[in-house]
């Protein structure tokens, strides 16, 4: 039974709602009052959420293996004939179409759901800021791009969304564009993302050249379009033995796409833009740089999982990059003092976890962590925004403290999110993180150990943040202390909803070993492990329950140990952090300066590029402008001067000469024309007399004849 229904037929409306309001805001928003902007923009995202929810519910009514709906609105690009790598000539097209399957269902719900809550929150948070309509215009444009990205049925349309979210990220990071650090951060994010995008687009081209199509799958389309998807092309290539598992072209595609994912999802070495992106307003950090956009890389890798599963080398690269990023970013989060920077590094670290899961072949676990992370990290950012709001804009946690009783809703919800990210059962983070660590252990114990240490670090830095922010005595100045207040309801309501989701969100992935059914993995199964002839079946080493219990207990233990350490450091002061920092000065400095990566990049790439630019600029100024442009200008001027002399003296001279000559010749007779007619009359008379005198003879004849 194929799924059908009103909402599935109107999939295209989901991205359209925010696009319409975004256009409205950016064209006429300046003239709208703030309440109208709020209603329109939040409402449109709300509609998107309702339509997405309806579509997913209708999708769920179908059998698991038929949960695909694909809708091609129109043929978008038809460049024509293309020669494939295997010598076939095919007609290449890209359509504008939407695909709803279990994977995009999860994403579309997370994007619209969390996005909707963050939009509500923004109404309160941005209420006093200038450019209110601009903010919501960009936010809605972002929603449109992100929904295009997750609902796209082919790689090129996904790339459109991918670039769209990159643009909105740039615009929103630089929202306070008068602040130099903000506009610089926006540029940095954009440029670093370009590097990844180059990889992505090369991956798309290689996919197109290899398979002759960029449509993800033909599932959900009519019979006419069967075998028009990458998945089907891959399967037939495997059956025909033109491609085999581990083929270098598959590895190349997978690695190129992973470069794109690294850029968007802030993995080593392209993570440097994300901490700087915290210059944007806090709801932006929550929506774009925690919950949705940065997970696009994870989504893309999962979307292309069929290729990854056949490229073990690429899988290893993904896992290793992921786990190194996880621990690397977590170590930097340990010593940051800016509340949003801590959360930014935490985000990078959690994204590393997701890539670890993907690299370990646990695609469902990666998406599961993506979802739970979206809940608790959005909540953490929104909570941080609420704290910053309460502290009159202060972001340094060294200047906070003692906020627990003063902003109770924020504090409690923040606490839940912290417990969730630390991996305390039965909160959401525990299930997803445990799933990832379990699968990592299967893949290679070393991956598990690094991930395990990262889990401890995560618990430590998150509780350091909580203890420094909410507990102890206040270190804020008097002015800020007097203004501490709980945020308005538009801000606390999303916090509460997200807190509930952070608690219960993990329950749909309750693992089998604890008596659950792991519904989430079953739901995603049709997408992430398609039955494939000839493919190397994922080597499932069934974990014995005891290993699983051991791993579970270990991750709980390490989380608790992290919390206990943080308690000792920052609450009871049993260990003085200053002392440790003093003793391990070099390590502390290294971490505090974020491993000097920014400085390294500056020295290696940025300055080289700048020098090259200066050199080229000089070349431009001296050679192109100096010799080329100015020389041509001089020549033209010289030529025109010559031409002017010719014109003035020869052409005009000839004309004037004719005129002068005429004037000269007319000189004697000119005076005859007096203008008075008595002169003329006299002249006529004179002429008559002369004529009469001249014809005197004839006159006689005439007169004689008359007589």
């Amino acid at each position: 039974m194929t799924p059908s229904g009103y909402f599935l037929e109107h999939l295209w409306l989901i991205p359209l709602f925010p696009l319409v309001t975004a256009a409205l805001m950016l064209f006429v928003g300046r003239r709208l009052p703030n309440p109208a902007v709020s209603v329109l923009c939040v409402g449109s995202v709300g509609f998107s959420f309702i339509f997405a929810l309806g579509a997913v519910v209708q999708l769920l009514s179908a059998d698991p293996e038929h949960r695909f709906t694909q809708q091609i609105l129109f043929e978008w690009l038809t460049p024509g004939q293309m020669l494939l790598g295997n010598g076939h000539l095919i007609r290449f097209t890209a359509d504008w179409g939407y695909l709803l399957d279990p994977l995009s269902s999860v994403m579309v719900l997370v994007v619209t759901g969390v996005g909707f809550l963050i939009h509500i929150y923004s109404v309160g948070y941005m209420g006093h800021e200038g450019g209110y309509y601009r903010f919501f215009g960009y936010m809605n444009l972002f929603m449109f791009s992100m929904l295009t990205l997750v609902l796209a049925n082919n790689m090129l349309l996904m790339f459109v969304g991918w670039e769209g979210v990159g643009l909105c990220s740039y615009l929103l990071i630089g929202f306070y564009f008068l602040k130099k650090s903000a506009s610089d951060a926006g540029k940095k994010a954009f440029i670093v993302n370009r590097i990844g995008d180059a990889g992505f687009i090369l991956g798309i081209l290689l996919t197109a050249a290899t398979f002759g199509t960029i449509r993800f799958t033909s599932a959900g389309l009519g019979d006419a379009a069967t075998n028009s998807g990458i998945l089907q092309a891959l399967n037939s290539a495997l059956e025909a033995h033109t491609l085999a598992a581990g083929a270098s072209v598959l590895t190349a595609i997978a690695l190129l796409l992973f470069v794109g994912a690294c850029g968007k999802s802030a993995q080593i070495p392209l993570y440097v833009w994300l901490p700087d992106a915290m210059e944007g307003p806090t709801p932006v950090s929550a929506l774009i740089h925690a919950a949705t956009m940065v997970t696009a890389g994870v989504y893309m890798v999962v979307r292309m999982n069929a290729i990854y599963q056949l490229a073990p080398t690429a899988m290893s690269v993904v896992a290793i990059v992921g786990v190194i990023t996880a621990i690397f970013a977590a170590s930097m989060a340990l010593v940051q003092n800016d509340i949003k920077k801590v959360l930014a590094y935490s985000t990078i670290s959690q994204l590393g976890y997701m890539f670890l899961a993907l690299g370990a072949g646990a695609f469902a676990a990666g998406i599961f962590h993506l979802m739970t992370h979206a809940f608790f990290k959005a909540l953490l950012f929104l909570g941080a925004g609420s704290v910053i709001h309460a502290m009159s804009g202060e972001q340094d946690i060294q200047k906070m403290g003692g906020l627990w009783g003063k902003i109770p809703v924020t504090a409690w919800t923040f606490m839940f999110a912290t417990l969730a990210i630390a991996g305390i059962p039965p909160l959401a983070g525990f299930f997803s993180k445990d799933e990832i660590l379990g699968r990592a252990f299967e893949r290679h114990p070393a991956l598990w150990i690094v991930g395990f240490i990262t889990a401890g670090l995560t618990a430590f830095y998150m509780f350091r943040l909580v203890f420094l922010t909410f507990f102890g005595y206040s270190r804020a100045d008097d002015h800020a202390q007097k203004h501490i207040h709980e945020s308005p309801q538009t801000m606390t309501l999303p916090l509460v909803i997200l807190a509930v989701l952070s608690v219960i969100g993990g329950w749909i992935g309750w693992p089998a070993s604890l008596g659950g059914g792991n519904l989430f993995e079953k739901f995603l199964e049709p997408v992430v492990s398609p039955a494939r002839a000839g493919a190397e079946s994922a080597k499932v080493v069934e974990q014995t329950s005891s290993t699983e219990y051991f791993l579970m207990l270990a991750s709980i233990a390490v989380a608790v140990a992290g919390i206990w350490l943080a308690y000792g450091f920052y609450r009871t002061k049993r260990f003085a952090p200053e002392l440790i920092a003093g003793k391990m000065g070099s390590v502390y400095r290294l971490l505090f300066h974020k491993y000097y990566v920014d400085e390294l990049y500056d020295a290696l790439f940025v300055n080289c590029t700048k020098d090259l630019g200066t050199l080229l600029g000089k070349f431009d100024a001296k050679v192109i402008d100096g010799v080329g442009v100015d020389g041509t200008g001089w020549l033209a001027r010289f030529g025109s001067t010559l031409s002017m002399w010719w014109d003035k003296w020869i052409i005009d001279g000839l004309l004037n000469f004719g005129a002068k000559l005429t004037q000269l010749l007319s000189f004697p007779v000119r005076f005859l024309q007096t203008g008075t007619f008595s002169t003329y009359a006299l002249l006529i008379l004179l002429g008559l007399a002369i004529l009469l005198g001249y014809y005197e003879q004839h006159l006689h004849v005439v007169l004689r004849g008359a007589r």
């Binding site: 005076f671 007096t674 203008g675 008595s678 009359a681």
Partner: protein
């Protein structure tokens, strides 16, 4: 009957008076009157020769010329009035715009 020479002499005298008037006077109205004199000199000649030859055609022509003189006076005076309205003068030596 007077010999023809008397008539011709009278016509010649009138003609010369008219021409002198046209050439020397400044007032355009006087010039017009002088032109009338010239026309009448012609009339006298026509009538005199008509009488001499016993041919009535000369007298008919004189009548035509009288009619013509009347029309010419009307048109001429109209031009003079129009001119006076523009330039507030009827002196012909001030009507010299058409010179070099």
């Amino acid at each position: 009957m007077l010999p023809i020479g008397h008539y011709l002499f009278l016509g010649l005298a009138l003609f010369i008076i008219g021409v002198i008037g046209v050439v020397t006077r400044r007032n355009v109205i006087v010039i017009l009157m002088s032109i009338e004199l010239i026309l009448n000199a012609v009339n006298i000649n026509l009538v005199a020769f008509s009488r001499l030859y016993g041919d009535v055609a000369g007298q008919v022509f004189a009548l035509f010329i009288i009619a013509d003189a009347a029309a010419e006076a009307a048109v001429g005076l109209g031009i003079i009035i129009a001119f006076f309205r523009n330039r507030e003068t009827v002196l012909e030596d001030e009507m010299d715009l058409l010179k070099w």
